[in-house]
């Protein structure tokens, strides 16, 4: 017993100085100058002592430490506060703390003029999520389909692509992981819009710029669509899909250490079953048939580095006839078979703390074999006098090489400077065979070398600017251009911001009108965009006004029966106002958005006799998109309504010396109401390894007649409405995804 007591005494003796020593109380209030800050962690550095500020910003704690210490205060979104204090073991030390806001991506204003973003990132411009792209009823699972419900894009149904703010589809360029994609859509047929080649599930981020886009991108007068592919998949999985238009399957493997993944997919699309049920205007001798395959790998090259490859192969064909407008009782025949492949290799890496590098390479090959002609009622090929030009073969063969390198250096805070270069090369060969068998071959080569630099400057959390410029040199035109870009954003209040963008954009003349007998120059557009946006977590309001000026647009003339570019005397302008409203709050579980665009545009280009509102532009365009998820049924109901006021149409003819309007008018207003039901039996099941989605969608559900425009017979005596191939389209499909990474473990555990 004794020794124990003495030990206790000993301990007591050691502890006495501690017990006697008085403590210092440190107390105060934490504010951001104006308001108290709650939940701020105050620490006496390298000790356990400290406190957390309460609801009035006050804090207080006792410490028995003595000497010089550093008092720190930290809170997310604020710069760390540090102050050296002297503790003498008694009294109360009052230290009021003012924290300065840190400029962070979360709190800073976003330079958003002209930009729509679909991503998971918490940014003001991110008005959509990747899921929205897939679940928009009128989109039919097509990337650009969902974007057509946003203000700025036209409801053009007779051809593919994005017609933005008075621009043609050719004035919108699409980029995947930084590099240009040359044949984003499947080969087109006259008056039928084709689909995009790439599945929306490939992309985790979509930036749709309707104007004033960054200096990192060029060669697009109107718009840039920037797609970012997904990084590592979440898990090893296989997927399978069956639908009325085909089957698809894929496999994706993720290595155990999650540093490497590879996969591939194949899909076979055949529209025969759908066309058997849904009567088409066209009579197909070969229904549209597509074999699409893709392969990918992704390697995490370091903690911050990622190397990605995506490869795509496609073979497709179709052949049909329609009643000829030129000669009663005869048929027009159109057939196209296509081979396309696309390879994209991209790499991103942080080089030290300040530098980042992005590099991308892409190559694509596109081969079209187009057959046009006429047939009689018995489907025998015929050549009619005066209409011989309708019989031809076109073999087109395009090779495209794109490379891009961007270096980014982080400046103070989140400010950064980016610069680099881009190289776009194309080599397009075509052989045009006319009815006599005579061949005309054509070859166009273009090399565009570009240099660009851009800087994001965040002056405060409230004010930011983006200043950039782009230099381009074209070997085909033997011309250079310098395009300045500038944008500014100011945070008006916590949730509201105003931004402005200005830029000059250049683009090569469209290839289909080349080669030209004349020396052509770049076409040019100048954009001015002003935006006001208010975003809360459940509601977004956005409005934009814009003015665009087009200069040096290509004018065409006729040479040997073909439209060719003759000069750059075209011009035009576009102005308008747009609104976007998204609301997830007012009605529980109902998410909807409304967009409206007013467009006033005129241009004189191609064969237009003078400046007119082009036939791809509607004055008023609106969309309403609704998504309602009914939890107990695990069903999502999606509906979309698209509206466009009647577009103008023209019959432009050449009288031997000049072009004139033989006819003109306006088509009726366009209405489209689409609905889709998605049944997701596995949604919300946290433990579920398998996911299934069943889809039923109906486009133009009420069968309202849609007219896109008019086409005229060769002699001008007859005109005919351009309408969709069928009034209603129904799509039924089922998609399954099987996570199989842990099945082996489950087996292991059994034994």
């Amino acid at each position: 017993m004794r020794p124990i007591i003495s030990i206790l005494l000993f301990i007591l003796l050691i502890c006495i100085p501690d017990l006697l020593s008085a403590q210092t109380t440190i107390a105060g209030k934490v504010t951001d100058k104006k308001n108290p800050l709650i939940g701020v962690s105050i620490t006496l550095k390298d000790t356990y002592d400290g406190a957390t500020s309460d609801s009035s910003g006050k804090y207080s704690f006792k410490t028995s430490e003595k000497g010089e210490f550093i008092l720190t205060a930290t809170s997310v979104g604020y710069k760390t506060f540090e102050q050296t204090i002297k503790l003498d073991g008694k009294g109360i030390l009052t230290i009021d703390i003012v924290l300065k806001e840190e400029i962070t991506e979360l709190s800073a204003v976003v330079i958003s003029a002209g930009t729509f973003e679909a991503s998971d990132r918490k940014r003001a411009a991110a008005v959509l999520t990747p899921i929205d792209i897939v679940t928009t009823a009128s989109a039919n699972g097509d990337v650009t389909g969902a974007l057509k419900t946003l203000p700025g894009a036209q409801q053009v149904g007779e051809s593919e692509g994005l017609f933005v703010r008075g621009g043609t589809a050719g004035e919108t360029k699409i980029f995947i992981d930084g590099t240009l994609v040359n044949n984003f859509f499947h080969s087109s047929s006259p008056n039928i819009a084709s689909y995009g080649r790439f599945s929306p599930f490939l992309f985790k981020g979509t930036v749709f710029s309707t104007g004033g886009y960054s200096a990192l991108y060029g060669q697009a007068l109107s718009s840039a669509l920037i797609l970012e592919s997904i990084d590592m998949p979440e898990r090893t999985s296989a997927n399978l899909g069956v639908s009325i238009i085909g089957i698809n399957g894929g496999y994706q493997e993720l290595s155990k250490n999650k540093k490497f993944s590879w996969g591939g997919a194949y899909s076979y699309t055949n529209l025969a079953p759908a066309f058997a049920i849904i009567k088409q205007k066209q009579d197909y001798s070969q229904v549209p048939e597509f074999h699409d395959g893709d392969a990918n790998f992704r390697i995490k090259t370091s903690k911050t580095g990622m190397l990605k490859y995506y490869g795509y192969f496609s073979k497709s064909r179709l052949d049909y006839t329609v009643n000829s407008i030129d000669s009663l009782g005869y048929l027009d025949r159109f057939g196209v078979s296509n081979f396309n492949m696309y390879h994209n290799l991209s790499w991103k890496e942080s080089l030290g703390k300040k530098w980042k590098i992005y590099a991308g390479l892409s190559y694509s090959l596109n081969q079209d074999d187009i057959k046009s002609g006429m047939k009689d009622a018995n489907k025998n090929e015929v050549i009619l006098a005066g209409l011989e030009f309708k019989t031809f073969n076109l073999d087109a063969d395009g090779n495209y090489y794109n490379a891009k390198l961007i270096l980014e250096r982080r400046l103070k805070g989140i400010s950064a400077i980016r610069f680099g270069g881009e190289y776009n090369a194309s080599d397009e060969k075509s052989i045009f065979t006319i009815y006599t068998g005579q061949k005309f071959s054509n070859r166009l080569k273009e090399n565009i070398k570009s240099l660009f630099a851009e800087s994001d400057i965040y002056l405060t959390n409230k004010l930011a600017a983006k200043i950039g410029g782009r230099f381009e040199q074209s070997s085909m035109l033997d011309k250079t251009n310098i395009a300045p870009r500038f944008s500014l954003a100011y945070k008006v209040s916590k949730n509201a911001q105003a931004s402005f963008a200005y830029g000059i954009f250049y683009q090569d003349p469209e290839r289909k009108y080349l080669p030209s007998p004349d020396n052509l120059i770049f076409m040019k557009a100048t954009h001015y965009v002003a935006q006001y946006m208010k975003v809360t977590s459940l509601r977004t309001f956005r409005t934009e006004i814009f003015y665009k000026k087009y200069e040096d647009l290509v004018k065409t003339g006729v040479a040997s029966g073909r439209d060719i570019a003759i000069n750059n005397n075209g011009f035009g302008n576009a102005k308008g106002i747009e609104f976007f409203w998204r609301d997830k709050k007012t009605i529980k579980n109902l998410d909807y958005w409304i967009s409206y665009s007013y467009l006033d545009t005129k241009r004189d280009f191609l064969n237009f006799p003078h400046a007119i509102m082009p036939s791809f532009a509607a004055t008023h365009t609106a969309s309403v998109v609704m998504k309602k998820f009914v939890q107990p049924w695990k069903m999502q109901f999606n509906a979309a309504y698209n509206y466009a006021s009647g577009r103008p149409y023209y019959d432009i003819r050449f009288d031997g010396s000049k072009y004139y309007f033989a006819d003109m008018g306006k088509v009726q207003d366009f209405h489209n109401f689409s609905i889709a039901f998605n049944y997701l039996p596995s949604i919300g099941k946290e433990n579920s390894k398998n996911f299934a989605v069943y889809v039923l969608s109906v486009s133009n559900a009420f069968g309202i007649k849609q007219v896109y425009g008019y086409q005229y017979s060769y002699n001008g005596s007859r005109k005919e409405q351009i309408v969709p191939p069928s009034r209603i389209f129904v799509y039924i499909g089922a998609f399954f995804s099987f996570g199989i990474d842990r099945s082996q473990e489950a087996v292991d555990r059994l034994f």
């Binding site: 962690s41 620490t43 400290g50 309460d54 579980n589 998820f629 939890q631």
Partner: protein, 221 residues
């Protein structure tokens, strides 16, 4: 004799476990850990998380301090994220907690690898991320949460906290999404049974969960 050896080795193990822990550290931890069971608010957990972080940052090599800081941040975030509906994103409110907890649990893991308790917290963080934006994140964080839970179970199938989390998922998930209160009850009871024999390595090793199980089981009566 056998008994003595067991007791002696238990003392030895305990001493060994405490060997690298300064007395002051253990005392500070003990007092804060005692507060966990009586804390029921986000603010309360934030206070605790900050206190554990102070200890962690001062010591720098004690995984338990980082572990508790992460656990308290994940708990604070979960309290903020609970409620509301599937369609609504609360990520702007919950993600800062998940971010902090993520950083802290990574530091804990650097100091202590292959620990079941660390994966328990990782599972909590994944669930917190899911909670932030269920509609858009269930495909990502659902399987992630499950993978973390599987790993925790693999590392220590006797860890009662693994079954608490599993049971809570079953209990709080609506039935049409795979929730099942009866299955949850079985798991709660399993956790309760494991607690009977569960002995934390030291007084400051993870030992939370008893009161949660008792409370949730009381709801069945």
């Amino acid at each position: 004799m056998k008994k003595t050896i067991i007791i002696l080795s238990a003392i030895f193990v305990a001493n060994f476990s405490f060997a690298q822990m300064p007395d002051k550290f253990v005392k500070a931890m003990e007092s804060k850990i005692a507060e966990i069971d009586t804390t029921h608010t986000a603010q309360g957990f934030t206070d605790l998380a900050n206190a554990f972080e102070r200890i962690a940052d001062a010591e720098k090599n004690q995984w338990l301090a980082y572990y508790y800081a992460a656990y308290c941040n994940a708990s604070a975030g979960s309290l903020i994220g609970t409620g509301g509906d599937m369609m609504t994103s609360k990520a702007d409110k919950t993600d800062p907690y998940a971010d902090k907890a993520d950083k802290q649990i990574s530091k804990a893991e650097e100091l202590m690898k292959n620990n079941s308790e660390i994966y328990v917290v990782k599972k909590m963080i994944a669930t917190l991320r899911l909670l932030g934006d269920p509609m858009n994140r269930y495909m990502t964080y659902g399987p992630e949460a499950q993978a973390m839970l599987d790993e925790a179970k693999k590392l220590n199938a006797e860890n009662p906290r693994v079954y608490i989390l599993e049971a809570q998922d079953k209990y709080f998930t609506p039935e049409q999404f795979g929730g099942n209160k009866e299955e949850a009850k079985v798991l709660f009871e399993k956790a309760q049974k494991l607690f009977e024999t569960f002995k934390p390595e030291t007084s400051i090793h993870p030992n939370w969960g008893r009161s949660q199980v008792a409370y949730l089981l009381s709801l069945y009566k």
